[in-house]
């Protein structure tokens, strides 16, 4: 078995505990079925890519992107725990290179991101099935979004985990950053109609691009703007991945 596969196996074993899986499903379920339907009378149809979506459908599709981001927190936690509990040094003294370690983390978050997206897609399907337009183009776009988003946010979490030394600092920073991403994005509400500064802030946030790409994949609304968003997503993910890899390579013992 290839070293990266062995490390991915190990990463998945230590990351996927029942608590995490329940949290990954229950949390978005509450959003979709409680907040979605509770806000529906206040929020009329939401325009997206030439379609009018009802709010629960809009929110459920946004929760897929949100959940991908949330699940990639695992990447930071993995690196953090490995450093804190001596496993990083132990693994590096075994039959592995730093590249194996970095790539295994990326594969792990890619898998978790995909599974996470699929779970929410299944759970949220009854909410958005009326507007869904899957095709040979849209499904690969959803998969592309899930993987690119996982790499992007996983790299970000990895960067934070390599720079922060205290567990309190790590928790505070990672939660603050991810809370900002969650709420200053189009995951919960559309950018159209928001005050201009907030709208600008939405588009400084990579989660907005991820959510837009996922939505475009689900509702079959691939526009030029979505393609630009995909390119931006790839660009940011690549830059963050390179930075995370460099920082991981430089971690000393």
């Amino acid at each position: 078995m290839h070293p990266i596969i062995r490390l991915v196996n190990r990463n998945l074993t230590i990351s996927l505990n029942p608590g995490f899986l329940i949290w990954q499903v229950i949390f978005p379920l509450i959003y979709i079925f409680v907040a979605g339907y509770a806000y529906a009378p206040l929020i009329n149809d939401v325009p997206f890519g030439g379609k009018d979506l009802d709010y629960p459908a809009f929110l459920a599709s946004g929760m897929i992107g949100f959940n991908i981001m949330n699940s990639t927190l695992i990447s930071g936690i993995l690196i953090w725990n490995d450093r804190r509990h001596g496993m990083f040094e132990q693994i590096m003294s075994g039959p592995f290179t730093r590249s194996h370690y970095i790539l295994s983390n990326i594969c792990t978050i890619g898998i978790i991101g995909l599974v996470s997206a699929s779970l929410i897609a299944v759970v949220g399907y009854p909410v958005f099935f009326e507007s869904v337009e899957f095709s040979f183009i849209t499904i690969p776009i959803i998969i592309f979004g899930a993987i690119t988003g996982s790499i992007l946010f996983g790299s970000l979490a990895s960067i934070i985990s390599t720079r922060i030394h205290s567990s309190e600092g790590f928790n505070v920073i990672i939660n603050t950053v991810f809370l900002f991403f969650a709420f200053v994005s189009t995951a919960f509400y559309p950018a159209d109609g928001a005050p201009e500064p907030l709208r600008t802030a939405f588009y400084l946030n990579p989660l907005t691009y991820l959510v837009d790409v996922i939505r475009a994949g689900i509702f079959g609304t691939i526009t030029e703007f979505v393609i630009i968003e995909m390119i931006i997503l790839v660009g940011i993910a690549s830059v963050l991945f390179v930075i995370a890899s460099k920082l991981l390579t430089k971690l000393d013992f």
Binding site: N9, R10, T13, G86, M87, M92, P95, T97, D252
Partner: protein, 312 residues
Amino acid sequence: MSCINVNHLSKSYGSVSAVDDIVLSVNSGQVFGFLGPNGAGKSTTIKLLTTLIPPSGGSLSVLGVDAVKNPLNVRHKIGVVLQQPSYEPTLTVEKSLDKYGMMWNVPKKIRKKRMEQLLQDFDLVEIRKKRNEDLSIGQRRRVQVAREFMHDMELLFLDEPTVGLDPSARRKLLDYLKNKVKTGLTIFYTTHILSEAEYLCDEIAIIDKGKIIAIDSPNALKSRFGKEKTIKIHLLETQSNISALLSGISDCKINFETGTNIIIHSEQSELVLLQVLKILNENNIQIEDLSAVPTNLEDIFLKMVRENASNN
């Protein structure tokens, strides 16, 4: 045949030299002890030998492989138990062993068999279902050492593996290691518990301030550096004039404790003892107990480190 060859190896952090031009060779199938006070450079040397950090200068070959050019090839052949604890908090003891074996690509059937054996050998059967985060420090240490035997290796690096273990677990581990060496394993053993080194090691290197100050077998070190013997005499009654009576004896250092204990340090201990006994006899002073303390590695170690410090 030597399995570790180190030539003029050094490691510096800025202007601080953690390992300074060391030269050593470790023969296969033996336990090589690496001793030194805290901060002497033991762990840095282990990190260099296990390819965790690159050297600043010199060369090192491990199991015939250039460890600077081909670190991964070296790591495939060695096992490492580092000084710091290493564990996955949420895994149970048996899952830890199994996953560690999997990481080393050990087939599932062999993993299962080895795991059961190691659980018994390291007294882990009762805690096999416990999570690592719920274990005591000693239990966690036992799991950490046991885990390393899940995979095959030719050379094992142990950096203070008995830290946190109770005396019985410590002795059990040392005996386990002794048996492993009989099967052909080579062990590079770092400790500052000198009785362990004396019990286990075939050869010993003493490092201080990044430099190796002695390499030899424990017995050879004792005969080279441990000529001074210690004799303890316990008198039946307190003697106020004992210091004056023995003051004329040369070639020795005599300490008096509580008026009844005499401690003699000398390289000519037999001759000095005869003189002391003669004086005590002439003055009708009765002895309750007399013992000669054999020179141990600890005495030699402390002496050498002290001398090294004063030379610098």
